[in-house]
Symmetry: C2
Subunit: 139 residues, 2 copies
């Protein structure tokens, strides 16, 4: 059954990690874990200073070509009665810096005291949710 709306909102505000699905040039799905924060009605993920495989990340190239993305929040527990997930479908765009998003990211992740918020020029993936679904076992 779906999670209560207030719980979904709390998770979108506080859960530290999500998995981002974008579309490769040939239409196949691409997956990568991301950090993100909610601000101004959208979800934001920076191209930050964590070490990268090199070059422009695939997620950035993919989003520039096709904005259709999905984002999944969940937690695995050995007690399967405790499982849950929240899925956001949306449209992504690339934004060269945003004060509200940067403040939300720095507030959520103290790691940005040490890790640069941006790997190079300011670049954020902005995800505008079009649908939010959730699941948990009936309890």
């Amino acid at each position: 059954m779906p999670l209560p709306d207030a719980e979904v909102a709390r998770l979108l505000d506080t859960w530290p990690v999500a998995r981002l699905a974008t579309l490769r040039p040939d239409g196949r799905p691409h997956l990568v874990p991301i950090v993100f924060a909610r601000a101004a009605g959208a979800l934001w993920s920076p191209i930050d200073g964590k070490p990268k495989a090199g070059g422009t990340p695939a997620r950035v190239r993919n989003v520039a070509r096709d904005p259709r993305v999905a984002l999944l929040l969940d937690a695995y527990e050995a007690d399967w009665r405790q499982l849950w997930w929240v899925r956001v479908d949306g449209a992504a765009s690339l934004v060269a810096g945003d004060a509200a998003a940067e403040a939300a990211l720095r507030a959520k992740y103290p790691q940005y005291r040490d890790v640069p918020l941006y790997a190079g020029a300011p670049l954020l993936i902005r995800i505008e949710p079009s649908a939010v679904a959730s699941w948990s076992p009936a309890r």
Copy 2:
């Protein structure tokens, strides 16, 4: 930098959860967390007895129409030097039961002593890996 091959193999054998990306009818990505086990060179995920939203799961309908999938294993840690991920791209198919896969799933998940391995008729998603990528920060 990539994880060592032996570490990737260990994670594919033992990590309890992955996020599966499939393709919706309109080509958008669909995401859901899954349990899985490795057997006979493939990764297997059952349509098990955990409560479902109802009807045939979207992942099953998606895979029946388009076999292209991606699977992501990762762990979030507040210490970002400990982050890692493993991504499997592959082709998925639907299989009506497989003895080796069932044995691997039951060995990996003691939860299947209580939760039915199959929600209805035996049904497994079989993922044949075509590429495996991994990442961890340089240490």
